[in-house]
Amino acid sequence: MGRARTIIDKIWDDHVVHSADGGSDLLYVDLHLVHEASSPQAFDGLRREGRTVRRPDLTLAVEDHNVPTDSLLIQDPLGRAQVEELRRNCARHGIEHFTHGSARQGIAHVVAPELGLVQPGMTVVCGDSHTSTHGAFGALAFGIGTSDVEHVLATQTLPLRRPRTMAVRFAGTTPADVTPKDLALAVIARIGANGARGHVVEYSGEAVEAISMEGRMTICNMSIEAGARAGLIAPDETTTAYLRGRRLAPAGAGWERAAAFWRELRTDPGAEFDREVTVDVSGLTPFVTWGTNLGQAVALGAAVPDPESFTDPGERAAAVRALEYMGLAPGTRLREVAIDTVFLGSCTNGRIEDLRAAARVLRGRTVAPGVRMLVVPGSMEVRRQAEEEGLHEDFLAAGAQWRLSGCSMCMGMNSDRLRGGERVASTSNRNYEGRQGDRARTHLVSPATAAASAVAGRLASPTELDGGL
């Protein structure tokens, strides 16, 4: 037995092809997810150098960023060209590819897990920062830029320095009305949008163990918003139960061997992290962002903070700017902020449990007059399942729109965009200026809070609708 290691170091060590002097390791990539927006220049680079895709069998392509969710026709010629380019590239290199309109299409980070394609101990990369989602399976998963996409296509490896490690431990039991999204927002508010920069985070604690795989994906998805390179959760019975029987999960004797390996895959007692943070979750309530970076979040029951309350001059200036952009005054109760749009979807909160949580709140209620609500399943498989459960009827009866799958309003690359100055309660992951449309004002919330806000026409929690606070 060597020294005590973290799960992060174990996965890392397991994937080092070789180590160069100077501290850079050549890391093997088990799964490469590709989408239309970050890949064309990478494929083009291969072509110019006469290179091929080394392991098409470890590569999966999806169309998610550009695609409309109200029709199968991409009106925008640039968006269409990008999708067509991806189709050509996948055909040329023999890469499996889920096209817009097909039964398996969806957001990369929703599609891969539901196939059982992401398993504990793997390395996963994608030209997308929210690749951290897959850490929920105890995989080391991180986003890369287009040059690195090209590198992985050509070599199935990446030269990387071993990341620093950080432990985020949740202490206490999560209150019933607090969702994984609230936990994620609370952690980022606590450590800052820059708080985990350069680190891979392991989340642990009883509160994490109690969360479903989908909730874990929500938490790991948001790791990048704290600046982390990746975030992961050690596999346990919940992980194994989720994977069992999935299309690409191991089966038969392979399953037994895999499950035995997964059981051992955890941080050794006494292993040291470069940083450790403990967050007490027992007193938390639903969270909401008020500003334009992810550190700018408070409890839904609180008020917009006064920029003067920030000691760091950079954070103070950022708060002043954010309030101006958001059209909010210090001291305003978040619950009094009226919204005109609600977006339920994205790789953070577009899974079946998210849809169920929102449908439960909407059932027997209606979306407030003047508010439009988009419900966008994260994949066509999620959509199919929701329809099987009748959730779409709850959404439609409440007056919400029931869409096809895609990234949709999470970012302004497709036709689902906010128009000048509109304010949205959104289950996505970024509240940046203009992210959801020109001058769009974003309040990030959980699916349950999004649904309650749709009914109230202002930011609201589900308990409020029931007469509580």
């Binding site: 927006a37 098409p56 200036a317």
Partner: protein, 210 residues
């Protein structure tokens, strides 16, 4: 790529923390198929404000951008780096960078230099006091020189090696393919694959993979 050892140029200051890549290049510009021609995209929304620093004449000839904390946070879009480069920036100085941005920058020969917050503040003050101030970033000696000051910085060793020698990262990696083949022989047999047929027919393990 041409070897890169040093850059000297005039600077402009963008005094904002958490400048995310959605601001550097808004999503609407990420639909192109090219790796260049993004100068129109750079800070497109912020440039609608006539007082924005990029709208000042000095910005046209500046090649060094002095930012704040957590520069380039957020989306992995490499377009952010291409746009800065297309505008004419060769160097971005900040007190910290988004991880993926930092990697993307060095991959494209855009020198991303992190300095301690106080040093950065003093540099920003000096640049604002004298827009003609020459700022030199020396990748060989790993120091930034300006206004008589000399400030050490660190850069990822592998990235520095590639830049100093003008090497293609992929070509360097491809030279070590024997080790990759050896590694692949020992990969765990149950690991998933998207090989033809994986989505149809029988489940993974019964297909007799190696």
């Amino acid at each position: 790529m041409e070897p890169l050892t040093e850059h000297t140029g005039r600077a402009i200051v963008l005094r904002r923390d958490h400048v995310d890549t959605d601001q550097i290049v808004p999503a609407a510009f990420c639909k192109r198929l090219t790796k260049s021609g993004y100068d129109d995209a750079l800070f497109a929304h912020w440039r609608e404000d006539p007082d924005f620093v990029l709208n000042r004449p000095a910005a046209r000839t500046a090649s060094v951008l002095v930012g704040g904390a957590n520069f380039g946070t957020g989306s992995s879009r490499e377009h952010a780096v291409w746009a800065l480069r297309d505008w004419g920036f060769a160097v971005v100085v900040a007190s910290s960078f988004g991880d993926i941005f930092l990697r993307n920058a060095l991959k494209n020969g855009l020198l991303a230099v992190a300095l301690p917050a106080e040093t950065l503040g003093a540099l920003a003050d000096a640049v604002e006091a004298d827009p003609d101030l020459a700022v030199t970033v020396d990748l060989h000696r790993l120091e930034l020189r300006a206004a008589g000051g000399c400030h050490p910085f660190t850069v990822d060793k592998h990235a520095r090696f590639l830049l100093l020698n003008g090497l293609d990262d992929i070509a360097v990696t491809l030279r070590g393919q024997d080790a990759v083949l050896r590694y692949e022989r020992d990969r765990r047999p149950w690991l998933p694959s998207m090989a033809p047929g994986s989505l149809t027919g029988e489940p993974m393990s019964s297909r007799g993979r190696r």
